[in-house]
Subunit: 406 residues, 2 copies
């Protein structure tokens, strides 16, 4: 089927979402059936706003640099589409734009919500009889998409987190006067990112304790463990997921806010979970305690990306386009891990299967304050290889796109 | 003069203080006059506690790995010696230890306070007629030692900060909904570290505004600038030194604490400067504002170190030892920059000249919310070259020392 190809990115950025975009763009530019290769600015919002640019007008070398450019080069959004069976206003607009540019191939790169968007667009186009092949390309540092062994973006974030934890572990233990460090790592409901700090511990320079959102967090037990380790070795390094919660399901980070609500003077508790836990731990241990929040850094650290992740992300983008050209639609690219030595095969799964279900760390991989060797064996192959990237004055040379309006 | 060589590290760690240690250790191990090469655990405290280890017992390959191992491998301290003319108790103990191990060469790697320690030890030994050559090896990410063009440790921290700012700049501007990010960078009195974020801005992906402690910070003017840029481009990235202060000299970070002091419920303001500024900026602009504190990460990011810095740090250590062997004493190694294309010569300056004076950014290099091209020209050569380091499973392979008691 001849027609235009439209590619969008959505959700939180990652170090390699642009590598997936590059894989898709390069495959589409090389495909005789694809008449134009277009990009949507800021995901589905760019479609609704007719903010579409011509990827064919970009310099091929700049496009190649997308492989090492973090964040979403096309722009991102967090726009939730309605159910097309209940409210089709947005979908009618999308159809109008698809018709305007003769979009017959639509690729959407993102996490759970983006796969949901993709699925709805595909369902609507099918319903109204507009012939368009729709494919989802997975992306999330959270690694929580179901139906795939792992997600592009996770390996790079994990490599950055493990590397940074090794460095911080050496730094924080440098004085003989004792120190406790609490590092807050992303992950609302799934602990994959925080658990990757265990790769540092395995090298002898990482957290002593790791707390994940898959299990309930008990503050008293936590303080007892920290105090015990502090007495023994004079330093404690703790990694916590932002999403840790108590037995009632209340986020520990919410207690800081609750604390603030009680404040008659209206002073707001400014720090996040790391600052809050550091405060409580200091009270309990009288030690010097520092809270560190990895914040955006863990999401965009292309300089410490995993080459395995970069390559797999690009292959996911390519595979989506090649599969659509072969007639596939309504699917998300997924990874299947081979047995024995690490290998990764790209396969397709129905979009409906991937969307809206968060994959968590198996409970049997989680110990009291850590993870098992099963997790290490799972994660280690994903962080292999440093990025082979272009530098300019020894700083990153990111892709510069022109965004020529289509 | 034949005798033992003793090496200590002190003050805050850096990505390359161990490279200086390696330079000194390697030169000392190769010197026929040096009978034993010893390390002090936790700087001068290790001397006072007779916690001395034998560097000759270490594996040479592990010592080489020190070049890419962050933090102070010998351990650090923040112990301030008295003036030996007023209180010589500590110095008598140090002399006792020096005699015990026949220490005739003493090297101390650190910043302002460490150069002060070094100067006092040298002065005391001279006063009591104990023949010992004493040399300071500079180290500080803050780059605030006087008498030297720059300090080992700065280039690596600057390269990390610039790289990270480029990545965060792309990440934070990804949505079309608008965002303001405030990044807090180390530097109490000197803005060298924060200014290095301008290397990112020069590449088109960095802070829009940079505030340094060399000038007074005006909150109203700051909020007006941020609002203006936000209106124009829908995103603002601000880099601030931890030491920014108002016209009265009050640290802006203190206002957060003062705020908390007024709190009748005893709730403590947990966040630091970044969180505080983010809160105020949010109130003023109603935008989505995020505060990020680079914290320890900027100090220990060996994975993003500057090879120029690593090499210069090693050369500083070597030069200190070779100079002492030639009879020099009471000096600190300093860097002198050549004219034209970047070159860096190691020279010696009197310890007294280096200690206790903080070098700041020249005021003529500072603009309202930024720095001039002079700063860029100064800093750029210092961040050149990525680290050529050993990896294991694609994670850093740091040095493992045995610390065999001497």
């Amino acid at each position: 089927m001849k027609g235009s190809c439209l590619i969008g990115q959505s959700g939180g950025p990652s170090a390699v979402i642009n590598s997936s975009a590059y894989g898709a763009v390069a495959a589409a530019l090389d495909a005789p059936d694809v008449t134009r290769v277009l990009g949507a600015r800021h995901g589905v919002k760019g479609i609704l706003d007719d903010d579409i640019f011509d990827l064919g007008a970009e310099d091929r070398e700049e496009l190649r640099l997308l492989q090492n450019t973090p964040s979403s080069a096309f722009g991102s959004c967090r726009y939730k589409l309605a159910d097309p069976d209940k409210d089709d206003r947005d979908f009618r607009r999308i159809l109008e734009i698809f018709k305007k540019y003769d979009v017959r191939y639509f690729f959407y790169i993102g996490g759970n919500d983006s796969m949901d968007t993709c699925e709805k667009v595909g369902r609507y186009m099918k319903k109204v009889g507009y012939d368009c092949r729709v494919m989802g390309i997975p992306k999330t540092i959270d690694n929580d998409l179901s139906g795939t062994d792992h997600c592009p973006g996770y390996g790079s974030a994990a490599r950055y987190i493990a590397t940074t934890c090794m460095e911080v572990s050496l730094d924080m233990r440098v004085y003989d006067t004792g120190a406790i460090t609490i590092m807050e790592i992303m992950g609302r409901n799934a602990g994959w990112l925080t658990a990757s700090s265990a790769l540092a511990s395995e090298k002898g320079a990482g957290p002593d304790l790791i707390y994940l959102p898959e299990t309930d967090f008990d503050m008293d037990a936590f303080l007892a463990r920290v105090s015990e380790i502090y007495k023994k070795q004079n330093s404690v390094f703790v990694a916590v997921s932002e999403g840790i919660h108590d037995g009632d399901g209340t986020l520990i980070s919410e207690y800081a806010s609750k604390n603030a609500e009680k404040d008659a003077f209206g002073h707001v508790q400014l720090g996040g979970l790391a600052a809050y836990l550091a405060h409580i731990t200091k009270d309990a241990t009288k030690a010097k305690v520092r809270g560190i929040e990895l914040s955006l850094l863990q999401r965009c650290a292309a300089h410490c990306a995993s080459q395995t992740d970069i390559d797999e992300a690009r292959r996911a983008g390519e595979f989506a386009v090649l599969s659509a050209l072969e007639g596939k639609t309504g699917c998300m690219v997924a990874f299947r891990r081979g047995d024995g030595e690490y290998s990764c095969e790209t396969v397709l799964i129905p979009l409906a299967e991937a969307a809206n279900y968060e994959k968590k760390i198996p409970l049997e991989w989680i110990t009291d304050g850590g993870v098992t060797q099963d997790f290490i064996d799972y994660a280690k192959p994903l962080v292999q290889g440093g990025p082979d990237r272009r530098l300019e004055d020894s700083l990153p040379r990111f892709a510069h796109l022109k965004y020529v309006r289509a």
